[in-house]
């Protein structure tokens, strides 16, 4: 089945230790998104790629970066995680952005110790 896969499901990192979360898709969608979802809060868009074009949300901390080496894969890099970065990170894809429905992965829950 075509899908969006996030690895790992659970990630523990130490304060200040760089961490990378990964996302892959078999849908061949043009757009890939990274959302941060904290407990009892709405998912918040961090950035997205339209093909190779990177779009950063204005309030996304500089600590967060992303890479999309090809259509199928997208990575979220947190350079120096703080305790406030503990959250569920959701990867999503859509065929061409805008009003196309989003397809989500299962998410990666990040814990910072």
């Amino acid at each position: 089945d075509a899908m969006v896969i996030q690895n790992p499901r659970y990630q523990v990192t130490q304060f200040g230790k760089p961490v990378t979360l990964s996302c892959s898709q078999t849908l061949n969608h043009n757009v890939m998104y990274w959302y941060q979802q904290k407990s009892s809060q709405a998912p918040k868009l961090l950035f997205h790629y339209y093909d190779k074009d990177f779009n950063n949300e204005a309030d996304t901390p500089d600590n967060f970066q992303s890479r999309r080496p090809n259509t199928s894969f997208c990575f979220l890099d947190i350079r120096s995680p703080g305790l406030g970065d503990a959250a569920m990170y959701l990867c999503a894809t859509s065929r061409d952005g805008r009003n196309s429905p989003l397809h989500f992965g299962n998410g990666t829950r990040l814990t910072v110790t």
Binding site: V31, A42, H48, R98, N99, P101, F104, G107
Partner: protein, 114 residues
């Protein structure tokens, strides 16, 4: 700025009964899209239903239907004949036409009582 408000953090419904989840939004746009997404426990978020703002007819998908009131900026989700598998967090979401940023509400956790 666009905002999406879900005023019911938690709701419960008896199996086979009907429940309505509320959502309001704020926008100055005239053309936009509204969505309801479902996030079951430990499972991925999936699309439940979508509504185009330019359409007056309310969207329906089997047991799921919406009540879209454009003037009131209200977009409620009605679940009929509730099933145990409907238990999940439900998110209302908005996107302006031509935009890429989907704005989510804070969610409503639905419990289905057997």
């Amino acid at each position: 700025a666009q905002t999406v408000t879900q005023s019911q953090p938690e709701m419960s419904v008896q199996e086979a009964e009907t429940v309505t989840l509320s959502c309001t939004y704020d926008t100055s746009e005239s053309d936009y899209y509204l969505f309801w997404y479902k996030q079951p426990p430990s499972r991925q978020m999936i699309l439940v239903i979508r509504q185009e703002a330019y359409k007056q007819q309310n969207a329906t998908e089997n047991r799921f239907s919406v009540n879209f009131q454009k003037a009131a900026k209200s977009f409620s989700l009605k679940i009929s004949d509730s099933q145990l598998g409907d238990a999940a967090m439900y998110f209302c979401a908005y996107i302006a036409s031509g935009a890429n940023n989907l704005f989510f509400g804070t969610g409503t956790r639905l419990t289905v009582i057997p």
